[in-house]
């Protein structure tokens, strides 16, 4: 299945603006992130030293933050759109 990934702000430097990722069978957000980070040096942007996803990294699946779904275990379906962006908090 194909998942559309859109990155914003400084994550674009690591992930590009938009890309289609192909995943096999049933896949989760974690599978997608593993795939996404493989060819890039982007692992440290998303994960902390213990291998946990950084809490403030925003990952939305079809407009819903994964924390309000099933976190990194959220299952993906073909055609899902995943947005990924760092916090922007200044004023």
């Amino acid at each position: 299945m194909i998942i559309k990934v859109k990155a914003f702000a400084r994550f674009r430097e690591a992930f590009g603006k938009e890309q289609d990722i192909e995943l096999d069978g049933t896949a989760t957000v974690m599978d997608l992130l593993t795939e996404l980070c493989a060819p890039h040096d982007a692992h440290d942007m998303i994960f902390d030293e213990s291998g946990m996803i950084k809490k403030y990294v925003n990952i939305l699946v079809n407009g819903r933050h994964i924390q309000s779904l099933s976190g990194i275990k959220t299952e993906l379906a073909g055609g899902d759109e995943v947005a990924i962006f760092p916090p922007v908090a200044g004023g």
Binding site: R10, N58, G63, H65, S68, P87, V88, A89, G91
Partner: protein, 243 residues
């Protein structure tokens, strides 16, 4: 009201729309990078009453972006500097200033007298307080945030649209960040445009959408966002309308 002042916007907003702008009161949370251009454009547009809250004094490092404050204002209270400029920009506008730091005890009282809230804060702890108060008091909240060359904005209508907590459940780390003033200008301009549209029922609001301005590659983009039925801040409040 000197009508001529608004001659160029009345064709867009309508004569009755301009009256609604005059009758409206807006709370601006912060007189910094976002609050400065927001307050300037809202005052120039003829908002009836602007309440601006900031507890800080002007630091030289603010001057690259906080355009309400000028070189001579260093060390002054930001609200004093802001009031002086805004009254000169448009004497039609009543300017109220609040020198309190927004906290969980005073937020509801501070925003309660206004029809709309402009988020010009520099941290998410304060934004979550505004978000909660906006929902509790059913006041629309116009979110903006900036960092470096990038910024984001969305419009929250309590009980109807995704709130800030639906979109950003976690408090990001705080700190000093790089910024150019023009990034604040872009994002604040979006917020003010939303405010004027909301007041005058014009156009389509940036609700259930998160807009991204990226000055590094000069692009504007957006993603759809949805209400979280389990959201700690907005769940079960007001009218729920799913589309």
């Amino acid at each position: 009201m000197t009508r001529e002042r608004y001659d160029r916007q009345i064709p867009l907003l309508g004569a009755d729309g301009q009256e609604r702008v005059r009758d409206a009161s807006v709370f601006i949370a912060g007189a910094g990078g976002l609050g400065s251009p927001s307050a300037i454009y809202l005052a120039a547009a003829g908002i009836g009453r602007i309440t601006i809250a900031d507890f800080d004094t002007v630091d030289p490092s603010n001057l690259n972006r906080q355009i309400l404050h000028w070189s001579d204002d260093v060390s002054r209270m930001k609200i004093d500097s802001a009031r002086e400029k805004l009254e000169k920009i448009n004497p039609d506008v009543e300017i109220d200033v609040i020198s309190e730091k927004i906290d969980e005890n005073n937020v509801s009282k501070l925003v309660g007298g206004s029809d709309l809230i402009v988020d010009a804060m520099d941290n998410f702890r304060a934004r979550y307080l505004l978000n909660k108060a906006a929902i509790a008091r059913n006041i629309p909240l116009f979110h903006g945030a900036v960092h470096g060359f990038v910024g984001q904005a969305t419009t929250v209508i309590p009980g109807e649209t995704a709130c800030l907590r639906c979109i950003f459940p976690n408090n990001p780390p705080e700190g000093v960040f790089p910024i150019i003033g023009a990034t604040c200008g872009v994002v604040a301009s979006i917020q003010v445009t939303e405010v004027l549209k909301y007041i005058t029922c014009t156009g389509t609001l940036a609700t259930n959408r998160l807009l991204f301005w990226n000055g590094a590659d000069t692009t504007m983009s957006e993603i759809p966002v949805e209400r979280d039925p389990g959201c700690a801040d907005c769940k079960g409040t007001g009218v729920t309308r799913y589309e």
